[in-house]
Symmetry: C2
Subunit: 464 residues, 2 copies
């Protein structure tokens, strides 16, 4: 079987020392094991041959991009063939007349942006991992980011896909046109399916004209509730900031402890907002500032200062890692990144509920997120070597999921289900939704070899 | 069986004189027959009971909105149960804080807009039928319109759906949040599925802040090629007009013959363009005008004149009906509305190819459409009582589809597949795409009772 895989793809890794490094993504609390083998194809044909061999031998296939995922969606199992897409990194074309680009799935988000910029265009979706994550991974998880409040998520930029199906056949779906309604929207079905319905090998995305550089402000609020109320006023005023991020007090304190930049660590919450509406941007920022009421508002005076503010936001994750390491100096400190979205009108309820959950469970929770979308990332600081801390962390995690659903929200706004939230997905979907998920999965992957166990639990006779 | 249907829904029509009026939509060249019965439910529960009865008796179910479709997607067969959604016309709520509205599927597009306007919001998708068509029908066909060039199609506004499945179970899918990636995008799978995967009974849509009133210009070009080149320049300049419509010479002549308004009937093509960017609109319109090169550009001096220009565009269909009636005074004159989209860069090739097809087949073709999206409607003027004219019309229709595919486009930009383009869809999808369509259909409707024969041909053992 290994011979058949090696015949399908010349770059096949079976050295146990190397396999370990393809074991998992960046999610905590998820199982993983070194895979059987890792193939690194460079063409769709190679992927098709690999999947055909896997189908013949009923080997689970786990597609991987840069393994920056936060839900265990790329985690391997001991009997799995990992297909690493990182060598499929060619930009196949940028078409300025149609404002599209076609890339292999392993192209890094940043590389696509740079290629688009040469034509005065941009690819907006900007997950936190944009400098290292792949477009294929972004599509497979329907990645979000800070721009979404104005420019939308990855799904809104996907026009066409090339996908290797569970039997090794190659499907081209979607379209190269601005509009089209020919048949079912199969391309959209693969977006966000986390490798469970097919292996995405090529992607055609929409591009946009580059936006004007944004103007940015930061507003300091005495409480998160007041920051949430400002977000509601901004929405109600019909404003569309190009970025609207919230950082709560513990998050601000963690940032300041990690890289001091003069932030007031006694603050209740910060809002970061940008406007990129060209000649209207200063006016729009004035209106956003007015919505912040009595908060102390500071405008970045130039692009450099604006970049510094946004870099602080981008530093959230390393700052939290630092907080975990200093809180639990024994080496067991870890950050469990959560991801929950609620209707915008329930943002304050979510923020306050998260704080209460932290108090109740005794877990340090620092929250940052895309306030304009009602999508927050509560970060749980735990000691993974301490069973009590781990248990409290799991309790806090579950309570936050339950709170999100109770507020009419979803258990994942942008990070995906993977292994981490499979049980919670079942609760969100309900029995009818779950049944339809199983029916769709069985229609596209009847033997259950594609990323088994991710998103939904496999049926009993699955190879997983 | 009729008794069981009557028990499921009190408003059940079986009078043959009435059934005739539920036979078909507005598409030409498509088969239809009066149905067995027409049910007019007012709740999701009634729809669920109806479908359960139909499933038990293997009766084909044909969902209908306002029957304004242009592809035969709502056409009935002799043994079908039509579920007319027109009495499910309640607006269930407008939520300004979250910028959403939830409506029953039979709510008219216009009524939703009016309800949104009371909150300073709008529902942008504006198919030609917006004053009479239903939101359920708009969603089932993923309807487009003139706004799409800036604001996108129906799919981009659908957040959540309630759908009655083929076995009568009720699925709630999608989300009430701005973002969410919990599981497969089932809501998007139903959008554009033309009633073949489930009966949509309730819809939650995104709303937007109302745009500022647009400024509008009309540009007269000596040839359609020059109008197409202007469209390419507008795109290349990074401009995003809120409307960018093209009318070719025959279309302009038909409009002027129908309602004289002083249009130059010797013109090669007109472009209509609007900008709704508030304080930037006049500048943007200047830039659009500059892209029109040496064309004669006339700006509407006030909102009334702009409305008159857009009304002329909205009159395209009655003007073509008038042209058909006067061209073939024997009463057989008919307009076959086609719908094809190509990559924007191929717009001129499409326009010129359509003109050549008209000449070659001897069919009068008048073209109007959404130039900014590369989506055109060539209208074929035929005499349906003359077999030679009908045959020539079919030939022209097929040649236009083939041309669209040859140019890298799609056989339907916004009208859908229905019965009219089923064979052409197979050509567009290819064997793998078609197989996946059949697999998805079988997963959701194993007995094949939902709108059988629409979009894809039914398998041999289907009830259709």
């Amino acid at each position: 079987m290994i011979e058949a895989l090696a015949a399908a793809c010349t770059d096949l890794i079976t050295d146990p020392d190397l396999l370990v490094s393809y074991q998992r993504d960046e999610a905590d609390l998820c199982d993983s094991a070194p895979p059987l083998a890792v193939a690194r194809p460079t063409t769709t044909d190679e992927v098709a041959r690999l999947v055909a061999v896997a189908a013949a031998h009923r080997i689970p296939v786990v597609p991987q991009g840069a393994r920056t995922g936060l839900a265990g969606g790329a985690n391997a199992g001991a009997n799995a063939l990992v297909i690493s897409m990182t060598r499929m990194n060619r930009i196949l074309g940028v078409d300025p007349a149609n404002r599209t680009a076609t890339v292999q799935a392993g192209v890094i988000n940043r590389a696509l942006r740079e290629a688009a910029r040469e034509h005065g265009l941009t690819y907006p979706p900007d997950p936190g991992s944009w400098e290292t994550s792949t477009i294929g991974g972004n599509v497979a998880t329907n990645a979000g980011g800070m721009c979404c409040v104005k420019y939308g998520v990855t799904a809104e930029y996907v026009l066409a896909l090339t996908v290797v199906l569970a039997d090794g056949e190659v499907l081209r779906c979607g379209r190269q046109t601005a509009k089209g309604v020919a048949g079912y929207d199969l391309a959209r079905l693969f977006v966000g399916s986390e490798g469970t319905l097919g292996v995405i090998t090529e992607v055609t995305v929409k591009l946009r004209p580059q936006a004007e550089p944004g103007l940015t402000l930061v507003a300091e609020f005495p409480s998160v509730a007041e920051a949430g109320a400002a977000v509601a006023r901004i929405t109600a005023a019909g404003l569309t900031p190009s970025l609207l991020e919230l950082l709560d007090g513990p998050m601000v304190a963690a940032l300041e402890a990690y890289r001091p930049m003069g932030l007031d660590t006694g603050v209740g919450a910060l809002l970061l907002a940008s406007a990129d509406t060209g000649s209207k941007a200063a006016d729009d920022l004035d209106r956003i500032a007015a919505c912040c009421g009595s908060a102390e508002v500071h405008r970045a005076t130039d692009a450099e200062e604006a970049d510094a503010l946004l870099a602080a936001r981008r530093n959230a994750h390393p700052a939290l890692e630092h907080l975990a390491a200093t809180t639990f100096p024994g080496g067991g400190g870890a950050v469990v990144v959560d991801d929950v979205a609620v209707p915008r009108s329930r943002l304050v309820d979510l923020i306050e509920g998260i704080a209460r959950i932290g108090e109740r469970t005794g877990v340090i929770v620092a929250t940052v997120g895309h306030a304009g979308d009602g999508n927050l990332h509560p970060n749980l600081i735990i000691d993974r070597t301490d069973p009590a801390s781990l248990a409290a962390g799991r309790r806090a995690f579950d309570d936050i999921m339950a709170l999100g659903l109770e507020l009419g929200g979803t258990v994942t706004g942008e990070h995906g289900v993977g292994l981490l939230k499979r049980d919670w997905l079942e609760r969100e979907l309900g029995p009818v939704g779950l049944r339809v998920h199983h029916a769709v999965k069985a229609a596209l992957d009847p033997a259950g070899i594609l990323n088994p166990g991710k998103v939904i639990a496999p049926p009993v006779d699955s190879p997983a």
